[in-house]
Amino acid sequence: MSSWAIIQQSLPMFTKGFELTLWLSFIGIIGSIIVGLIVSLLQYFKVPVLHQIASVYVEISRNTPLLIQLFFLYYAFPVIGIKFGAELCGIIGLVFLGGSYMAEGFTGGFNGVSKGQLESGKAIGLSRWQLARYIVFPQGFSLSVPAMAANVIFLIKETSIFTVIAIPELTNTALDLIGLYYRSNEYLFVLVIGYAIILIPLSIILTLLEKRVRYGSFGN
């Protein structure tokens, strides 16, 4: 069979994998943003006890590979009686990983608000909460957009690791097909195209968004 025919034949399976990658990424990113937001707020307001727990979480999450986190969820947790399906494992793993990256992104944004801004806010009598609500959060979120954008791309790429727990996303689909038919060149080619279709347009959109948000809030 010609390479072209091989590729054509595999497209329905790749489309399924493609959709699954998109879907898992989407859920994982939304979850990561929510977790990241909560963690960064706990840390910003230094909520007793919870902010220490949040810090421990960030350290564990950032300093262990997703691969190991997934093995833990998929193979070790059932030993103590906690069992998830592969896809749920993947999402939990991605959110566990992404939550800390997003949290660091938000925290970086909050910390990036200049001292002068905080002082002029205090000087007009803003309370700690008002300072956060009107100055630190709006400016901090804008400042965190570049980090957020990088995290989004990073997390989508990390979904390729889901293949180790046999989630039939893009990478898993390609590896499966290669195992069956030994046509690595063709399938890897489709795999690369698959990720490029997701990531290149997204990256362009995020860059435009960064510029826009930056201009919207700071004018340069």
Binding site: K122, A123, G125, L126, S142
Partner: protein
């Protein structure tokens, strides 16, 4: 004798081990304009930042409108509403329009009626020649315009006392006059009580009732303005004046 609005007694300030303000004692009368002069690093900015709680001090008391403020004061947020401050770097909020910059304090902190506060904001903007800029964002303004908005933002809270921390130091020379005129106007027309830190000697001479001269965190002299500029009491102040070009 004029009513005193502010007394500072035996104020000491340290940055870790570094002693930056030494036994600071002075008062300000209601309606009085005091300028703080002194070489760079003498502690002028640090001192006025202590007066609205942006810098902590370790010993001494500040008494503002009869209320004693100890170094442990927790309620600066209340006190600050009566003390307006304008900074060298303007520090308008870039995420808010000019009008929202002005309204934030009056409506969110002081819960003033929004409609009335807005009307007053427009009047104040008109007073500094910026009535057409209410809906502009800070990025659309020049440095001088930003600083005028910053002054309006402080005035909108109806402060009894204003602190100006080198407010013309980052402006182009042609912008400086406009800002100084506004401050002069506040003194002459509103009889606003103020402390002005500045390097504009002509302006200091023009506006000040009294000069406090600081060096290395010590107040070397406090003299009525006329006397300070014609015959300062200390040799150090004389040298300082000689070194300034005005």
């Amino acid at each position: 004798m004029a009513e005193q609005i502010l007394q500072v007694e035996h104020l000491e300030k340290y940055y870790q081990k570094k002693h930056v303000l030494h036994d600071i004692n002075f008062h300000v009368d209601k309606g009085e304009v005091v300028t703080l002069l002194g070489p760079s690093g003498s502690g002028k900015s640090t001192l006025i930042r202590c007066l609205n709680g942006l810098e902590a001090y370790q010993q001494g008391t500040i008494t503002f409108e009869g209320k004693k403020i100890e170094p442990t004061e927790k309620n600066w947020q209340q006190i600050r509403q009566k003390i307006g401050m304008v900074f060298q770097s303007y520090d308008l909020f870039p995420n808010l329009t000019v009008m929202d910059n002005i309204l934030l304090g009056p409506t969110k902190v002081q819960k003033q009626d929004k409609f009335a506060a807005k009307k007053e904001g427009l009047d104040l903007l008109a007073r500094v020649g910026l009535e057409d800029y209410a809906n502009a964002y800070p990025r659309q303004l020049s440095g001088g315009q930003k600083q005028r908005v910053a002054i309006v933002r402080a005035l909108a809270l109806h402060p009894d006392f204003m602190l100006f921390d080198e407010v013309t130091a980052s402006l182009d020379p042609e912008m400086v006059r406009g800002i100084l005129n506004i401050i002069q106007d506040l003194a002459d027309v509103d009889h606003m009580t103020m402390i002005v830190v500045t390097h504009e000697m002509n302006f200091a001479q023009q506006i000040a009732d009294r000069v406090i001269f600081l060096e290395d965190g010590h107040i070397l002299e406090q003299t009525p303005s006329k006397q300070f500029f014609s015959a300062p009491q200390t040799k150090r102040a004389q040298e300082f004046l000689d070194s300034m070009d005005f």
